[in-house]
């Protein structure tokens, strides 16, 4: 575990990455404690037609929405949806992408090539477009959005893992363990996985941010959350009709999205520099 400790220490030293980490911790806290933190937890269901579109004030720090809901409270609950989407989508993508990448990287021959070509096909379509197609066919709902995002993101992991595995395979110790006749499974999980871990972590962190953006876009286009859900992209879509007067209505959720994605990107970049000096980033120099 000292390695983890070391990693954390490095993150702490990298100011930007640390900022990212702080943002994300804040996000999780908001999501978990939403019912306690929210000034008006009921406003997820409750409506107050008489106090709609109130500008920010002491009672409503971020103002109220088109049905009188307290925007701050709704944002806090929205954070839950955002996290759920990002985490589940990434989890599923990992669950699909990593094994495929490992297998394709470990075994040579046409099955591996085929797997990689399939991945390429998915990567040939911009994610959001493919996600739209899938989500629309499945019918608009958050679970389907998650499904669509997972179905479109796994190839990124496959790519990374594949490349890493192949290079690791050529390193001597793998040859050695092979020589000792240890079975593929053992080799993959004891030797390859640890080696591909760091690029996966980096990719996942950056992927979270990307996924959150895509998910928000889908909701904005009306593919995600059902009406009056506190989901951030959805809220922005609803707020448009009340511009320019109700500027706070559109500003708040947008900034929320921005901060969270920023958090993941900063952390991701930081991790990339820390875990994987081979990959050069703009920040590295």
């Amino acid at each position: 575990m000292s390695e983890v400790g070391l990693g954390l220490r490095r993150i702490y030293e990298d100011r930007l990455a640390f900022a990212g980490l702080v943002i994300l911790i804040a996000l999780v806290v908001c999501a978990v404690l939403a019912p306690r933190l929210a000034p008006y937890p009921d406003d997820i269901k409750e409506i107050h037609p008489k106090q709609r579109l109130l500008p920010p004030s002491a009672n409503h720090l971020l103002g109220t929405d088109r049905l009188g809901g307290d925007i701050l409270s709704r944002l806090l609950f929205g954070a839950r949806i955002t996290i759920a989407i990002a985490v589940i989508a990434m989890g599923v993508s990992l669950a699909i992408g990593v094994p495929v990448g490992l297998v394709a990287g470990y075994f040579r021959g046409w099955p591996s090539d085929l797997l990689m070509r399939v991945a390429d096909v998915f990567l040939a379509v911009p994610q959001i477009v493919l996600a739209i197609a899938i989500a629309q066919t499945l019918g608009p709902s958050i679970p389907n959005v998650i499904l669509a995002l997972s179905a479109t993101y796994w190839p990124w992991f496959t790519r990374v893992v594949y490349a890493e595995t192949r290079s690791t395979m050529n390193e001597t110790f793998v040859e050695a363990t092979r020589g000792l006749g240890s079975n593929p499974g053992r080799l993959i999980f004891l030797h390859l996985l640890p080696n591909v871990a760091s690029p996966i972590i980096v990719r996942a962190s950056l992927g979270m941010g990307f996924t959150i953006l895509t998910a928000a876009s889908l909701s904005f286009l009306g593919l995600g959350a059902e009406p009056h859900s506190p989901e951030w992209g959805r809220t922005i879509a609803e707020s448009r009709a009340y511009l320019p007067e109700a500027w706070w209505y559109v500003a708040a959720p947008g900034i929320a999205i921005f901060l969270v994605v920023m958090g993941f990107n900063l952390l991701g970049d930081g991790l990339r520099d820390i875990l994987d000096p081979r990959i050069r980033t703009g920040r590295a120099r």
């Binding site: 269901k45 037609p49 709609r52 579109l53 088109r66 608009p140 059902e226 009056h228 009709a241 007067e245």
Partner: protein
């Protein structure tokens, strides 16, 4: 969506059309009604189809547009009121808004449940809060300003206790979330649905809101089994007779059309509506419609919400704006620039 194309242009001839842009019409000189009534008629009209309401309003305020159709969100009308370029012509029309209940399907088959639902909608909150009083409460299956409306029918009010009481009387159990279908991308039906949902959850009924394109909805309404538990519906004027509303909606002989999508069945009402339809005697017809209305309201066949007010925002320079309730639009023949 500002659909200027909706305006009738019989007295104007189409000159140019582009679905992405809109169309241009020029005055049709030899229109059978002639133009004697209008000294300086408008020679040329550009109709632009603009998707974003906000753009329409901005255009009106800046004076790029001289008019638009009446159905604008309340908040936009507020903005227009503030502008010195725009004059808003206001009048109650005959376009009523209801939430349809599928009377043939449990639990809505139980009159007490239907009443409970009707008590659970915050009419005042929606009409005067969300829509800022740009509509008027319309508790009956006919536009308030139509003849045949029964006198002194208050209809239902937002009253959770009453709702609970009614629900207690209900014989059926509500063991599933009710599906409330709305017109996809239509902000007002979204908000109405949300208000309905909020109210129903107070009395322990969960609601799932399902956005669907309009053609799908009307399609569903053709069969009782595909008709949603509830859905938002506007009935506007095709012809100025009570039958256009209550008749086509609650006379079971019309089953299968989307207007009658509440699948309401009541011998007495059927009988009354038939008689009203056949009779020549205005007084008798009125009585029949009034009585039928009372029953339908008492049965809470649908949730009757409001009757639309028409807001014709026009550039101050435009004169002679008159409304035509049928198809609710404004007749350009009468208009002129000052």
């Amino acid at each position: 969506m500002a659909q200027q194309q909706r305006r009738r242009s019989g007295s104007y001839a189409l000159e140019r059309y582009d679905p992405a842009v809109g169309f241009t019409a020029v005055r049709f000189k030899d229109h059978f009604l002639g133009w004697g009534h209008n000294q300086s008629p408008i020679e040329r009209i550009d109709f632009r189809s603009v998707r974003e309401t906000t753009s329409v309003v901005l255009g009106l305020i800046k004076g790029d547009f001289h008019g638009t159709d009446g159905f604008l969100p309340a908040d936009q009308i507020d903005r227009l009121r503030k502008s010195e370029n725009v004059r808003i012509v206001e009048q109650e029309t005959m376009r009523i808004f209801t939430i349809q209940l599928n009377n043939q399907r449990a639990p809505m088959s139980d009159v007490h449940v239907r009443r409970a639902i009707s008590y659970a909608f915050d009419y005042d909150g929606f009409n005067n809060g969300v829509l800022k009083g740009t509509v008027v409460r319309n508790p009956v299956p006919l536009p308030n300003n139509m003849w045949g409306v029964p006198k002194g029918v208050k209809g239902y009010t937002y009253d959770i206790d009453q709702a609970k009481a009614e629900l207690a009387k209900a014989s059926v159990k509500i063991d599933r979330p009710l599906r409330l279908h709305i017109v996809a991308g239509n902000a007002q039906s979204e908000q109405a649905a949300t208000v309905m949902k909020a109210g129903l959850e107070k009395i322990g009924i969960t609601v799932q809101i399902v956005p669907e394109p309009w053609p799908t909805l009307t399609g569903r309404a053709q069969k009782v089994e595909t008709t949603p538990d509830m859905w938002t519906l506007w009935v506007s004027t095709l012809y100025a007779d009570p039958n256009n509303w209550i008749g086509e909606s609650y006379n079971s002989k019309y089953w299968g059309t989307w207007k009658s999508s509440s699948w309401y069945k009541n011998e007495r009402v059927d009988d009354l509506l038939e008689r009203a339809l056949r009779s020549r005697d205005q007084a008798e017809r009125a009585k029949a419609y009034e009585e039928a209305s009372k029953i339908v309201v008492d049965d809470a066949a649908s949730v009757f919400i409001y009757n639309t007010k028409e807001y014709g925002p026009f550039n101050k320079r435009v004169k002679g704006v008159r409304f035509c309730p049928v198809g609710s639009g404004q007749e350009v023949r009468w208009m002129s620039f000052e």
